[in-house]
């Protein structure tokens, strides 16, 4: 865990109420995909947990949705502004658990953390199918980015305005997609549906209101088959088999 003051390079809308923020600064505490950072927001007491979308030696990219006052303050940041964040939080996706063919499922802004994961899977030479679910065509985002790194990308929208009409699980039902392991991030009902529809092993990234974000306040605990677990420290990524829905 490391506190870093970043400089905003870019903070632009990616979809309605959804922003991509590229930050320059020390990323040495960020190890791999699945982690999150705790962003300090002026005028707010607690930090906001946001997943790592992409990261290299000098830059960190976050994709976040404006859901309240805190993220609204963040969306007003301009290039050159400073952003303080605790970095190196949470566990990570387990790329080694995927034998050959990965299925990545993202719901809305839940697509964000899957991008760095996809890059890691790609580096290991694994095949990838990505299914992204949104409410409507105007919300579709990140599809091109996933395609550029060689993923087979499918879209689902609730109103049918882009891709398959329905949920990400409807794409699975209608198309013959080969996979032997899955990774999912998105709203809880989606994750629950994914975990019951898919019979291969896999893992999901959870979201919870957090206090410290570093495992010592026990504010974000969930009950699992292995007892209480902290989403911020023991997660946010949990194996499917561990979760109780």
């Amino acid at each position: 865990m490391k506190e870093v003051t970043f400089t905003v390079l870019e903070n632009s809308p990616l979809a309605p109420r959804t922003f991509r923020m590229k930050l320059a600064g020390d990323t040495s505490a960020i190890r791999c995909s699945g982690e999150f950072v705790q962003v300090a927001v002026e005028g707010k007491f607690l930090r906001r947990p946001i997943s790592v979308h992409d990261c290299d030696w000098e830059t960190l990219t976050l994709v976040y949705k404006v859901v309240g006052e805190g993220t609204a303050v963040l969306s007003a940041k301009r290039p050159g502004d400073r952003v303080r964040a605790l970095t190196g939080l949470g566990n990570s996706f387990d790329v080694d658990s995927c034998p050959h063919k990965a299925l990545l499922l993202g719901g809305g802004v839940g697509a964000a953390p899957l991008y760095l994961l996809a890059k890691e899977l790609c580096a290991q030479g694994k095949e990838m199918t990505v299914i992204l679910g949104f409410n409507t065509a105007s919300e579709v985002m990140l599809a091109d980015e996933f395609e550029q790194i060689g993923a087979d990308v499918h879209i689902a929208t609730m109103d049918g305005s882009a891709g398959t009409r329905g949920f990400v699980t409807d794409v699975l039902r209608l198309k013959n997609i080969p996979y032997d392991y899955f990774y999912a991030c998105g709203p809880k009902p989606m994750l629950k549906a994914v975990c019951s529809a898919i019979h291969t092993p896999g893992e999901v990234s959870l979201e919870e209101r957090m206090g410290c974000g570093a495992g010592f306040c026990y504010g974000c605990s969930i009950q699992t088959k292995n007892g209480p677990r902290r989403v911020c420290k023991d997660g946010p990524v949990f194996k499917k088999e561990e979760l109780i829905w």
Binding site: L46, G211, C212, G215, C217, Y218, G219, K233
Partner: protein, 304 residues
């Protein structure tokens, strides 16, 4: 000149008065990779009960102006795990004052847990939480009546032969001085005050409470003046030492708490927004003492 930050709590020397408050620092172990625990005067461990508890459903945390609400609900692994695993593991890496924080739902539970803590070699002090406002039918009843607070104090004093007992008081009372005096009369060796203030937030879009538990304890910078006032009143009414707690965020607040009468000062909610705040305060204290012409922190306790 080298500043003397050390203080003494019931004969136990603390290298400085800065102590992370119970519930805001886990069992210390969770932070041992991120900061040097040995700069801390003491650590008040997470509240512990007889049996392991999962606590309340989530959301357990709500952001507020100048603070936060928590309704964690005393998640903890139980007293046996505390004395057999957590404390020995912490003792291996930490040489400061280890404070076990004990909660209970009955006099029997308080007695049972305190007796075990009393014989655990790694524990220096026992802090008895009679004020946690989160748990249905829980500690609240004890902390809000002078008679019940005295009853818990007497019960735990009876079973503790080795260790000093601090009673941690609830601020959700009409007259905190009356409760503090009742604890002192019942044999408490010291007092920690204050715990969180019972509060609530509503999600106006969903038209429902933010916390799954509906209500929770409010803490953070916003409660500092109220906590300071209570520390001042109690420290001037009682002879036993006081650990001041509530909204402390910086070295300046520590000095204020001590001038009001606190011998040691606990830092709570601020740890959650800045996990490095306690070491930062310890580092900040000598230069502030220099500015204020203070040679030893002991000299300013209760000087206001």
């Amino acid at each position: 000149m080298v500043k003397d930050l050390s203080v003494e709590l019931c004969g136990i020397r603390l290298k400085n008065p800065v102590v992370p408050a119970s519930g805001t620092f886990g069992f210390g172990l969770e932070l041992s990779d991120s900061l040097d625990l040995n700069v801390l005067g003491g650590i008040s461990l997470k509240g512990t009960t007889r049996e392991a508890r999962y606590g309340n459903p989530t959301p357990r945390i709500a952001d507020c102006p100048a603070g936060m609400l928590n309704a964690v609900g005393l998640q903890n692994p139980g007293i046996d795990v505390l004395v057999q695993e957590k404390v020995p593991a912490l003792r291996k890496i930490y040489d400061g004052c280890v404070i076990a924080n004990i909660s209970g739902f009955s006099l029997d539970e308080y007695r049972h847990c305190c007796a075990l803590a009393d014989t655990c070699p790694g524990i220096d002090l026992i802090e008895v939480n009679i004020s946690c406002p989160n748990v249905h039918g829980g500690g609240m009843a004890f902390g809000t009546s002078a008679a019940a607070a005295a009853e818990v104090t007497a019960a735990v004093k009876e079973v503790c032969r080795n260790k000093r007992i601090f009673i941690k008081l609830s601020p959700n009372v009409t007259d905190i001085v009356e409760i503090a005096r009742a604890c002192e009369d019942a044999g408490a060796d010291g007092l920690t005050l204050v715990n969180t203030f019972l509060g609530m937030r509503i999600d106006i879009a969903r038209r429902s409470p933010v916390l799954a538990n509906k209500m929770g304890g409010y803490s953070g910078a916003g409660i500092f003046p109220i906590a300071l006032r209570m520390v001042y009143q109690v420290a001037h009414a009682c002879r036993i030492p006081v650990m001041g707690c509530g909204g402390v965020t910086c070295a300046r607040d520590v000095i204020e708490m001590m001038m009001a009468g606190a011998t040691a000062v606990q830092v709570g909610a601020e740890n959650l927004r800045n996990p490095f705040v306690c070491p930062e305060i310890v580092e900040e204290l000598p230069s502030l003492m220099e500015q204020l012409h203070i040679e030893s922190l002991r000299d300013i306790i209760g000087t206001v």
